[in-house]
């Protein structure tokens, strides 16, 4: 943080500063707080829509979403704090939430208003946090979320009564349907304007004064408030959840269901993603063709068609799959199933020496290792946390999907079932390797017992499509941004490496020139052009570099182009796809066809001796290598930050590279022997 920023932010740290008047009207900060599963994010999304941005709290690695919007002509910043069960933090995320509420977080203005989101179907437990929040004595509004679900279950909440007990305004809302949001906004506006602070109920004030367990007194208070303000509670919904749970949390059936859910998710991703993928592939093919035809042949033409359109197109074609995966994971999370998955996995996790809480980070790692590593902060024990961080990059993140998709499409172009099975197998390999390595780490470098499981199992709910779509949009934008910057830059460098130095035909060796003349005489124009391009590429920088390192990758079945791909994807593994698009696209392009799609070029690629580059053995070996190899610089940086030492990212890089190399070699040799 810069000095200038510190100075500007310093006055805001003064806890005595009158918040609104001093800063003048027009800038109001509202902090959203609530139990996990109380629908806090739904309320935030309902209020802010697409305006939200993901950011870190200054000086921390804790992520949150924030948005600025006008509430009754006042510019208002909404901050979505991490979910908490109480204001006694036990994890860094909870610590940040508590500090932000109390105005103790450096660089973050103390909130002018706290918007407490409460689940009306689980009032008593939520009231525990409410009792602590109102005691902060900041202007507070309570949003009683899921009011539609509560009514359907026959739960009737007396808002006036509840408001009296909490000493602050209470508004019934349903973030899902949008009901009550206008009333909520009006109440927020009035409470901020008049700086209405909660009046602490005398019975609540007594809780702090009484001796013995402070939690116990608060829960007793919460029970009293619930009894006084809720009528006609029925347990049918809870019983339904419990009936479903008898199957989903069963020792055997639960695991089988989990496996089925994941398999179904990936089958759906495969089936549904085919159509937009073909569309995107077609569009980029068309764009390449049009540009190739309108520009005069030469370096600029080649740069645009192969470098830019080929590189970025080869990457963006996988966007539909990535979006679908995030969408499905968001739906599963929102429905309440993820907690069950963690529950049934706890037993298995203990066998490899990890706590049940490591499961959620490990599952998130299937989207991206970076947020997953950051979310390991829910694990209290340092050894458990380190072991989890060390194995997270082995799990299949979304950046691997393009690689898997490329290989499966190459090996099984017309057999979606086989392709899905191979895809699942790659995921399985990643999971198995992660668990095995965790077991090894917990028995060697990070020896120690496991922290026991405590997790809330929320009622099952109809997941919100709106939330899932917003999350997917967020992730998709981040992915497109990467594709448009880092991957574009790497594509351009690769294009340059593959095109320079340019060898004119008369400088090629005599035998190549003779063969070209022979092919031309025989009328095989395409064959002659292919040979010329290949000979020229072999003499480029990329060709020379690839040839030098290729012997290293020979036991894995990689040709020199794939070896170049491995090198260029060191910083970001998904670059292998755009690299191969550029490298193979150059060698197999027919002048009358414009840009071939990546898959076609790969399928027709030949070694100098005429055998196909992509045999089953090579494909499997490439797949295994990319399942297990580190190949992600940002992840390494996050590991360094989260562990506080360079030792851990280095251990990570070393063991993963060795594992990937050896496993890919074994795969290639075994598959070659069998086929």
């Amino acid at each position: 943080m810069s000095v200038a920023l510190d100075q500007r932010e310093l006055p805001l740290l003064d806890r005595e500063a009158p918040s609104l008047a001093a800063r003048g009207a027009g800038e109001v900060t509202i902090a959203l707080v609530g139990n996990p599963n109380a629908g806090k994010t739904s309320v935030f999304n309902r209020l802010t829509g697409l305006r939200a941005k993901t950011a870190n709290f200054p000086g921390t690695t804790v992520e949150h979403r924030r948005a600025t919007l006008a509430i009754d002509e006042r510019w208002t910043t909404l901050i979505d704090l991490p979910g908490v069960y109480s204001l006694q933090p036990s994890t860094p995320d909870e610590q940040v939430a508590c500090d932000a509420l109390a105005g103790r977080l450096p660089g973050v203005a103390p909130p002018d208003l706290i918007l407490l989101v409460v689940d009306s179907t689980n009032l008593e437990r939520n009231l525990f946090l409410a009792s602590q929040v109102v005691e902060l004595h900041r202007p507070t509004v309570v949003a009683l979320n899921f009011c539609d679900v509560a009514e359907k279950q026959g739960i009737e909440v007396d808002v006036a009564e509840l408001s009296g007990w909490l000493g602050c305004p209470v508004v019934k809302v349903s973030a899902r349907t949008g009901r009550g949001i206008d009333v909520l906004l009006a109440t927020i506006d009035r409470t901020v304007h008049e700086q209405l602070r909660p009046r602490i109920h005398p019975e609540l004030a007594a809780c702090g004064a009484c001796h013995g367990c402070p939690h116990s007194a608060r829960f007793a208070w919460a029970e009293r408030v619930r009894t006084a303000s809720v009528r006609g509670e029925d347990r049918r919904h809870g019983r339904l959840t419990e009936a479903v749970d008898r199957v989903l949390t069963h020792r055997v059936a639960g695991l089988a269901c989990f496996a089925a859910v994941m398999a179904l998710t990936f089958l759906l991703i495969f089936w549904a993603a085919t159509f937009p993928m073909e569309l995107i592939d077609g569009l980029f093919g068309l764009a390449g063709e049009v540009v190739g035809r309108w520009l005069p042949a030469g370096d600029l033409n080649s740069l645009l068609t192969h470098g830019v359109i080929g590189g970025v197109g080869g990457m963006l074609v996988f966007l539909p799959q990535i979006c679908l995966l995030f969408f499905m994971l968001a739906l599963l999370e929102d429905s309440g199933y993820m907690a069950r998955a963690a529950f049934v996995m706890d037993r298995l996790m203990h066998r490899v020496g990890l706590p049940g809480k490591a499961f959620v980070p490990l599952l998130s790692a299937h989207a991206c290792a970076i947020p997953a590593i950051m979310s390991t902060r829910v694990i209290e024990d340092r050894r458990d946390r380190l072991a989890t961080i060390m194995v997270i990059p082995l799990l299949t993140c979304s950046a691997r999907i393009p690689v898997y998709a490329m290989v499966t499409a190459l090996l099984f172009p017309a057999a979606p079932l086989k392709a899905a099975a191979l895809f699942c197998g790659a995921y399985g390999l990643g999971i198995a390797a992660a668990l095995a390595m965790a077991w090894l780490f917990k028995r060697t470098l990070l020896k120690g017992p496991v922290r026991p499981l405590v997790i809330e199992l929320p009622n099952y709910r109809m997941p919100s499509l709106r939330n899932a779509l917003l999350l997917t949009f967020d992730r998709a934008m981040a992915f497109v941004k990467t594709a448009g910057t880092t991957i574009l830059a790497i594509s351009l460098v690769l294009w340059a490496l593959a095109n320079y130095p340019n060898t004119p035909p008369h400088r090629l060796p005599a035998d190549v020139q003779t063969r070209v003349t022979e092919l031309t005489a025989a009328g095989d124009e395409a064959g002659a052009r292919h040979l010329l391009e290949q000979a020229s590429l072999e003499r480029s920088f990329a060709g020379r570099l690839g040839r030098r390192i290729q012997p290293l990758f020979d036991p894995l079945g990689f040709d020199w182009k794939m070896s170049v791909g491995v090198l260029t994807s060191f910083a970001a593994r998904e670059v292998i796809v755009s690299s191969t698009a550029v490298l193979y696209g150059l060698g197999s392009e027919g002048a009358d066809q414009g840009v071939d799609s990546l898959l076609d070029s790969l399928r027709t690629a030949r070694r100098p001796d005429g055998t196909p580059v992509f045999t089953t053995a090579t494909g499997l070996s490439l797949l295994v290598f990319y399942v297990l190899a580190m190949q992600c610089l940002p992840t390494q940086a996050i590991t360094r930050r989260e562990t506080g030492a360079w030792k851990w990212p280095l251990v990570q890089l070393a063991y993963m590279t060795a594992l990937a190399y050896l496993a890919a070699m074994a795969t290639y040799q075994a598959a070659s022997a069998l086929t």
């Binding site: 689980n122 939690h215 116990s216 499981l453 809330e456 199992l457």
Partner: protein, 103 residues
């Protein structure tokens, strides 16, 4: 392989305090003490597994599911062994009165 903390669940005699992991499904229980290490105890307390709360076992085993403060909580048998409970039916009015008074 069954560990020591995961003994066969059964109904205990009324009024006898015993670790939670030894209780059968559906039992009406009251928490009498939580002997977990401070960090685990804080987590348990925040979710409602706290002295004086009523609790019932939804699913015994390891991990087990309990219903407390109107919500379900999954917890490992190792932690459940640190939560001492007794049957509510056996709690006499004399024992309940001081708790009520404190509230």
């Amino acid at each position: 392989m069954r560990s020591g903390i995961e003994a066969e669940p059964r109904l205990l005699p009324l009024g006898v305090a015993a670790p939670l992991n030894l209780h059968a499904i559906g039992a009406n229980l009251r928490i009498v003490r939580v002997e977990a290490p401070a960090a685990d105890a804080a987590r348990l307390n925040a979710l409602g597994v706290c002295v004086g709360r009523r609790l019932s076992v939804v699913k015994p085993g390891d991990p087990m599911i309990v219903r407390v403060v109107g919500a379900r909580v999954g917890l490992s048998a190792r932690l459940a062994a640190a939560v001492w409970v007794e049957s509510t039916a056996a709690v006499s009015q004399d024992e309940v009165a001081p708790i009520r008074a404190a509230v």
